[in-house]
């Protein structure tokens, strides 16, 4: 219906993703404003069990062996007709590896608009508005959500996953899957997260290094401070892409979600794709020569100094405290 809010429930290897609950929390708020229903789209094979704590008015379930695990081709084809027939006001998807593929494909197939990098949604005077964050979080953009149906990919941050969790299983309406033959993308398997030498999700003290490190040889400095603090190094994407540290140490959207006691960010700009992986540290310190860097929007304390100057001095002082 024209006021309904649909949410694509993401699941991988039999688990509903955290992002799905964040989408449900956002969808609930929005449905309150449109006076429509909040509807979960659950695609899979024998996945009734996954619906048990999904906080929606009802679930539309498409069951097919080809949907057992996510693949872009099958998902877009499975959802296409359904959206055309039911024309909800908004389809919420994650700004994730799953949601971005599916939204992009559907936007072209159905010729409907797609608003991406969305941070928050609200209803004002019966109109739906979005705020998206662009340019690494340095710029925000507001507008009215185009209609009649709009695809929205949401970034985490403004909504809490707990608000998307229910205590009882919602009613499920089974929707017949379209023919899903001739699929051009097939899953061969998963490579389990590389925990390598360390599991940073369990480390209470993390020293995070970014491109501000400038050269691989400067890792030594940060390695030393990590050692004297009894912590581990983790990194932003460019550091891992350069091969300076292994992917097991990547924090963020496509890396690990960490929840340390101390997060010391060195030379990291604070792009949303990085900061979404940092869960509420007790002490969050950021060192960045650019006093306007977005990392200072999320850190508790910051200093606009050169990390290469600061780190050796700080390491010495910590050694003194530890020694004395």
């Amino acid at each position: 219906m024209a006021d309904d809010i649909y949410v694509l429930i993401e699941h991988l290897q039999g688990n509903v993703t955290e992002m799905s609950y964040i989408l449900l929390a956002a969808g609930r708020e929005l449905a309150g404003g449109t006076h429509g229903e909040l509807v979960g789209l659950l695609l899979g094979h024998n996945v009734n069990g996954l619906a048990s704590n999904i906080a929606v008015n009802r679930i539309l379930m498409i069951d097919h062996p080809a949907l057992a695990e996510y693949t872009p081709d099958a998902y877009a084809r499975a959802i296409e007709t359904l959206l055309e027939q039911r024309a909800p006001r908004v389809v919420l998807l994650g700004e994730t590896s799953i949601g971005a593929d599916v939204a992009g494909g559907l936007s072209a197939r159905l010729d409907i608009p797609h608003i991406s990098l969305c941070r928050s949604l609200r209803v004002e005077n019966d109109k739906l508005h979005f705020t998206s964050q662009i340019c690494g979080g340095k710029i925000l953009a507001d507008g009215e959500l185009p209609g009649p149906t709009c695809l929205v990919t949401l970034v985490p941050g403004a909504y809490k996953a707990e608000a998307g969790q229910g205590t009882s299983a919602p009613p499920i309406e089974a929707v017949k899957a379209p023919a899903l033959d001739g699929l051009r993308v097939s899953l061969q398997g998963y490579l389990e997260p590389n925990t390598g030498d360390v599991d940073i999700t369990r480390e209470p003290i993390l020293i995070a290094v970014g491109r501000g490190l400038q050269q691989e040889m400067n890792l030594e400095l940060t390695q030393e401070i990590a050692e004297v603090l009894g912590g581990e190094l983790c990194a932003s994407r460019p550091v891992v892409d350069q091969g300076w540290l292994s992917t097991s140490r990547l924090v963020g959207k496509s890396g690990k979600h960490v929840k340390p006691k101390l997060y010391l960010a060195l030379g990291i700009s604070g792009a949303p794709e990085h900061t979404e992986g940092i869960g509420d540290p007790e002490l969050f310190l950021a060192i960045n020569t650019d006093s306007q860097a977005p990392i200072f929007e999320v850190a508790h304390y910051g200093a606009a100094v050169d990390l290469l100057d600061l780190v050796p001095v700080l390491t010495e002082k910590i050694k003194q405290v530890k020694g004395g």
Partner: protein, 254 residues
């Protein structure tokens, strides 16, 4: 395998960004643009595939300031063809129109594989990659960090949250959204780029006439107000270090 790579210039985020007088778009007067980082990886991935299993690499960009440099740099790195689409691009077209534009060029000489960056940070109407794929009737897979070529298709490594990686088989032709190449993008010396400028000619094509006026849904663009900002530690490096030691003690880390 013939590969096409779409290259985009985006605002350099190291610089301060400002909103123009319309209040709806970025002020481009002094804006410094750099190649979208994932596009650099897309080009690298294309070159790696060509080196491994033959074929050609064509790069495609719009005629905007600094694009020539980007195209010549790609040539110096090993791209075979550099296509520049000429037209009026002062205001960036929306992604649906852009995708149709790229499709009009790609159709003439259909590649086996089209690589785009997974995303560019400066627009909010989705990504061009999946749109190009659908308009060409091809499959799309994004968030890719690695591609291997085998008979009749490719295997791609797709990144999910938490470090989980999916291994997917994709039939060709196809479009991919590249996050990272298997290796860091190669470095190329300025002298080689200069040489490429002398020896390469850009393949300039007038962009298909499209109604590129359709405005995106943006009503207001703004720099976020400083909300809950970090408390800044002042002083020289010694003083900053002392304050940090104090904070570490207070939290029980020291």
């Amino acid at each position: 395998m013939d590969i096409a790579v779409l290259l985009k210039l985006v605002p350099d985020l190291v610089e301060e960004l400002e909103v123009d007088s319309t209040g709806k778009s970025l002020d481009t007067t002094f804006m410094r643009r750099i190649i979208n980082e994932p596009d650099e990886h897309a080009l690298e991935q294309a070159l790696l595939i060509k080196e491994g299993s033959g074929g050609s690499v064509s790069v495609i960009g719009l005629d905007v300031a600094d694009m020539d440099d980007v195209l010549f740099t790609a040539a110096a790195k090993g791209a075979d063809r550099q296509i520049k689409l000429t037209g009026e691009f002062e205001h960036e077209p929306n992604n649906h129109d852009l995708a149709r534009l790229f499709v009009s060029v790609l159709k003439g000489n259909p590649p086996d594989l089209i690589l785009t960056g997974v995303q560019a940070h400066n627009d909010l109407d989705g990504a061009v990659g999946p749109l190009v794929a659908e308009y060409l009737g091809l499959p799309y897979v994004g968030y890719i960090a690695g591609v291997s070529v085998e008979n009749g298709g490719i295997t791609v490594f797709k990144e999910y949250t938490g470090g989980l990686v999916g291994e997917l088989h994709v039939s060709l032709p196809a479009v991919l959204g590249i996050q990272s190449a298997e290796k860091p993008p190669r470095y190329v010396a300025v002298s080689k780029v200069r040489q490429a400028m002398k020896t390469t000619s850009l393949d300039e094509r007038a962009a298909l006439e499209l109604d590129l006026s359709e405005a995106a849904a943006i009503e207001r663009m703004f720099v976020p107000e400083n909300g809950e900002r970090a408390k800044m530690l002042e002083g020289d490096v010694e003083q900053v270090a002392d304050q940090i030691v104090g904070l570490l003690k207070n939290t029980g880390v020291l």
